[in-house]
């Protein structure tokens, strides 16, 4: 019973690693409810967390996670329970880990507008269509906006190239 509550708290933290304060609050609630002191609990939790983190790095299956826990001295029942939770949560955890992988100048967002150039200082009547893209790019920890203008033929060839990229990415998934 206790163990399953603790496991739940642990997995909630693993799937949402930014919620550190919530995790610590839940840990101290758990400690008070079960009359354990927080210090030793934190140490135990730290060691327990090593197992899923290592498992994630090495893409271990739930049987392997269970075997690891048993080797570390956990009872069969508890290890099975943890391994089950691991199987359920591993797609989310893997996706998170992949998401943390380095990305260079990641494209975050794209906005566009298009319109017609009506006239200019050189040409009284123009009537040419332009497309303006605003790309939001993450450089390091900052966001940068890049503005680009495309003519229509450029737009169509850009669209065509991006569709080729999609086909290529899909063939590798």
């Amino acid at each position: 019973q206790q163990f399953s509550e603790l496991t739940e708290v642990l997995f909630r933290f693993l799937t949402e690693p930014k919620e550190v304060e919530r995790f610590l609050a839940q840990l101290s609630d758990f400690a008070t409810m079960n009359k354990i002191s927080l210090g030793p609990l934190k140490n135990i939790v730290k060691s327990i967390l090593l197992v899923p983190n290592g498992a994630l790095k090495r893409n271990l299956s739930s049987e392997q996670v269970k075997a690891d826990f048993i080797a570390l001295g956990l009872s069969e029942e508890k290890a099975s329970y943890f391994a089950e939770q691991w199987k359920v949560n591993s797609p989310t955890l893997t996706r998170l880990a992949v998401g943390q992988t380095l990305m260079i100048n990641q494209l975050i967002d794209m906005e566009w507008k298009f319109g017609v150039t009506a006239g200019s200082s050189e040409l009284e009547k123009v009537g040419s269509i332009f497309l303006q893209l605003k790309l939001v790019i993450k450089k390091g920890s900052q966001l940068e906006n890049v503005y680009v203008e495309l003519t229509l033929p450029q737009f169509y060839s850009f669209l065509h190239e991006m569709e080729r990229v999609k086909t290529s990415l899909e063939s590798f998934s």
Partner: protein, 140 residues
């Protein structure tokens, strides 16, 4: 003075978008030499579309896309996962700063952007919508 006058004449023709010989001929004063007038008109007409295109190309604008390249990589390992096979796209856009500001030495910068599959799908959705909007405008 002659060059300046010629320059003004050609600029005026390009600005107004005059394409017919009569319109250009009517710009000359009454007692202008007939053959010279015809010759100038002929030369202007020959060059007019080239001049218009150039004027359009050197209009002020936001930075323009001049070229684009892409590459698909497969990420096999990182510090957070030792083995994986995640495809990702690297897109390089060559962007030229405002032509009017650069004069004869356009500054072209290369921007490399990484897109995950999800980002690419979202982007394609957006581009598809642009294409639909463009066809709707064209069909009006």
């Amino acid at each position: 003075q002659l060059v300046s006058a010629l320059h003004n004449l050609t600029r005026h023709v390009v600005y107004r978008g005059l394409t017919r010989a009569e319109d250009i001929l009517s710009l000359f004063p009454e007692n202008f030499h007939q053959n010279l007038k015809n010759l100038l008109t002929k030369i202007i007409l020959e060059n007019i579309s080239a001049w218009r295109n150039e004027a359009q190309a050197s209009q002020i604008s936001l930075p323009r896309l001049v070229d684009m390249d892409w590459r698909v990589d497969i990420k096999t390992s990182s510090d957070s996962i030792i083995r994986m096979a995640v495809p990702t796209c690297l897109l390089q856009l060559k962007i030229q700063e405002d032509a009017a500001l650069c004069g004869n030495n356009p500054v072209v910068s290369a921007l490399t952007v990484e897109l995950s599959k999800e980002t690419l799908d979202t982007m394609l959705e957006g581009l598809g919508r642009i294409r639909d909007q463009l066809s709707a405008v064209a069909n009006k």
